[in-house]
């Protein structure tokens, strides 16, 4: 049978007090702990679902494999978890909780550092680590000895005296809270510093083929993004010329095909009119030009292709980067000849550095170095869609206005070219030849200003962390009073952080107190 409940519920808090209650809950340790666990949990999906900033190709493959799930995930930010509102909410809440907690603690600590060590509790026996003994030494002598002992153990010491005797109060380990606060403050400094720095930074990517150059203007980039406070006038006006690129792969053994060396060489002109300086760019060894760095982050092959149109004119002749798909360096690429006459021509296909003849004709590359290069192309004619003005990716062929060439069996015409070969297109609409092979490098050019502050803060944070985890703040008290003609001495210690065994420490202190007679008093 349910007990009767009172009809009225507890009165609601007035809004001011409710806010204060909310704030206190938010900045409590328990909330911080729960938010930390929630943050860890919230980070998990971003490692299981492909992220568009990390691997756009994987996102595309995922979308192809899961057509119904993809739009749902996209709505809730599944492909950009770490910039999604819900992830940001968790860490922002954690930041607020953190800041709201440590700011008052700084004030508390500032006061505690200047204050006297706290007084002994009335009943020292109640403390978990305490002992007492009786001695004939007079009270001042006992207290004096206790002070010296505790000072030697690096305690900050203070004394009280009252009618029956006196007490020594001691505390040490003040730096622990300082380390703790330093760590948490530096954590916030690092995050704010990184965010502010990114406002002024930029990051761009570009593919540069051997024999070509790159000038640091926005017209030359393949992709570019910058912080909100970045000004394009701040791009340092350098130019680099890529003379050669060397890529070595492991030829034998179980790691056959693994990359061993990527090295790009050329000349760098740091500003118009400056003398060219040779450079040697490798992975892990970026070029530094002012505050901007040039990183080598990828590479691949660029077959040299010539296209002739139906009228017999050469309408395209140059190296075309084909983008590698996997570690065997099988690569995909597109060639567009929008000024071919009478019809525009487009080509789409694959490049194999070391082609292997397979039974069904599937393109396979056995090794990433160009030991047996082959270019496989499908050809199209019609309208490439470039004249309308709508932007089009140089790596994608828009097939809407195009008709594919077919072979004698009405299957899509596939031309497989070795270096030096030329293939004629049907209906006299032109030809395409594979003249030679060059390599390209994928460069990332970026500037991340303002890294000194986060770096220094990070190092200080680790220092503060180590201090806060190793120092153990402790208090000790020694109280002596005269009772029945003898001195009763009580000793106690308190560890402010759990996890140590103080019993033996107290016994050691007692033994030291009882130890050799003092020599400070002349008899």
């Amino acid at each position: 049978m349910a007990s009767t409940r009172s009809a009225s519920t507890a009165p609601a808090l007035p809004s001011g007090q409710f806010l204060r209650w909310t704030w206190r809950q938010l900045t409590s340790m328990r909330t911080a702990l729960l938010l930390l666990l929630l943050l860890a949990l919230a980070a998990v999906p971003g490692s299981l679902i492909p992220q568009s900033k990390v691997d756009p190709l994987a996102v595309k493959l995922f979308a192809d494999k899961h057509p119904t799930l993809t739009p749902v995930l996209d709505r809730i930010g599944g492909f950009s978890v770490y910039s999604s509102p819900w992830f940001s909410a968790v860490y922002l809440l954690l930041m607020v909780s953190l800041v709201g907690c440590f700011v008052p603690r700084i004030a508390v600590y500032a006061r505690a550092v200047r204050a006297r060590p706290p007084a002994a509790p009335r009943n020292l026996e109640r403390l978990p680590a305490s002992a007492s003994y009786v001695t004939d030494q007079p009270v001042p002598e006992v207290l004096d000895r206790a002070q010296r002992l505790l000072r030697a153990q690096r305690y900050r010491v203070d004394t009280d005296s009252d009618t029956t005797g006196g007490a020594v109060r001691a505390q040490r380990g003040y730096l622990r809270e300082a380390g703790n606060l330093l760590f948490h403050v530096c954590l916030v400094v690092v995050l704010v510093g990184v965010a502010v720095g990114s406002l002024f930074g930029y990051k761009g990517g570009v593919i540069v083929t051997e024999g070509e150059g790159f000038s640091n203007t926005l017209t030359q980039y393949d992709e570019f993004s910058a912080g909100a406070l970045f000004d394009s006038a701040d791009l340092p006006p350098f130019r680099l010329q890529l003379d050669s690129f060397q890529a070595d792969f492991q030829l034998d053994g179980p790691q056959r095909g693994a990359p061993r060396l990527f090295e790009a060489r050329g000349d760098l002109v740091s500003r118009p009119g400056a003398a060219p300086v040779p450079f040697d760019l490798r992975v892990n060894h970026p070029l530094a030009i002012g505050g901007t760095s040039v990183f080598l982050i990828g590479q691949g092959y660029a077959p040299v292709i010539t296209v002739r149109d139906g009228d017999g004119n050469v309408v395209f002749s140059g190296a075309v980067p084909f983008l590698p798909v996997d570690s065997s360096y099988i690569s995909n690429g597109v060639v567009k000849a929008p000024d071919a006459a009478p019809e525009q021509l487009g080509f789409e296909g694959f490049f194999l550095p070391t082609a292997v003849d397979t039974a069904d004709g599937t393109p396979v590359s056995a090794f990433p170095a160009a030991l047996r290069p082959r270019l496989g192309l499908f050809a199209f004619h019609g309208d490439l869609g470039l004249d309308a003005g709508a932007p089009q990716s140089v790596y994608v062929l828009e097939r809407d206005g195009l008709t594919q060439f077919t072979d004698a069996n009405n299957k899509p015409l596939r031309m497989l070219l070795e270096p030096g070969a030329r293939a004629q297109l049907p209906d006299g609409l032109g030809s395409i030849s594979f003249d030679g092979l060059r390599q390209f490098v994928k460069l990332q050019i970026s500037a991340s200003p303002g890294t000194t502050v986060p770096l220094v803060a990070g190092v200080l944070a680790i220092g503060g962390l180590v201090v806060s985890l190793t120092l153990r703040p402790r208090r000790a008290w020694v109280r002596a009073r005269r009772e029945h003609g003898r001195t009763v001495v009580e000793v106690a210690r308190l560890d402010r952080v759990s996890g140590t065994d103080l019993g033996s420490d107290v016994q050691a202190l007692v033994r030291s107190l009882q130890g050799e007679p003092t020599t400070s008093r002349s008899s």
Partner: protein, 195 residues
């Protein structure tokens, strides 16, 4: 009393954190991830006469195996247009540029700057659109580095108008039309002394 000190401090720190979170967004308008080049949302800048800086004396080989430099046209208004045969926005304005060139005749000289291209494709483009004015072949955009930073070429196509005194007078950062270009050229001619 303690709260009176700590609460404003907390508010400032929290605001700093929130600001920095907002800083995670990218701000530059010229951002293009997938097309393989950076295009823009268009802006026309006409520089007041008193603030114009001298245009760099860009020079280089032309697509027809000659050479040309900007100083060859000293005393005339020059329209410098950056283009590539692969660039759809450039193709969309090509006919308009040729039209303005023919209309204005000797008043104005057009000079093309061909970037990120190969010579044969660029020449084929010129044939398609009937381009008769010279273009410098500069595949690495090195000449663009020399323009004043405030008027940097931050996208393609970009069209500069250089006044009769050889100073950069205007920048058009998008596909332009014949009428827009005419208007800008008249602006520049009108505002230059002896124009």
């Amino acid at each position: 009393m303690r709260g009176a000190v700590t609460r404003p401090v907390v508010a400032v720190v929290v605001a700093a954190v929130a600001l920095s979170a907002a800083g995670c967004t990218s701000g530059l308008s010229a951002t293009q991830g997938t097309g393989g080049y950076v295009s823009s949302n268009g802006a026309i800048t006409v520089v007041p006469e008193s603030e114009r800086k001298p245009a760099p004396d860009i020079s280089g080989p032309t697509l027809d195996a000659g050479s040309v430099s900007l100083s060859d046209f000293a005393g005339t208004v020059v329209v410098v247009n950056t283009w590539g045969s692969w660039c759809t926005e450039c193709r969309a304005e090509a006919a308009d540029l040729v039209e303005v060139d023919e209309q204005l005749g000797d008043e104005v000289q057009f000079l093309g700057l061909n970037i990120r291209d190969n010579e044969t494709a660029a020449r084929a483009y010129e044939t398609t659109y009937g381009v008769t004015y010279p273009s410098i072949f500069d595949p690495s955009s090195s000449l663009l580095l020399e323009f004043p930073p405030e008027l940097a070429a931050i996208a393609i196509p970009v069209t500069y108008v250089v006044d009769v005194d050889g100073r950069v007078a205007a920048r058009i950062l998008s596909t332009t039309s014949a009428s827009t270009l005419m208007g800008v050229i008249e602006d520049v001619q009108g505002s230059s002394p002896g124009g």
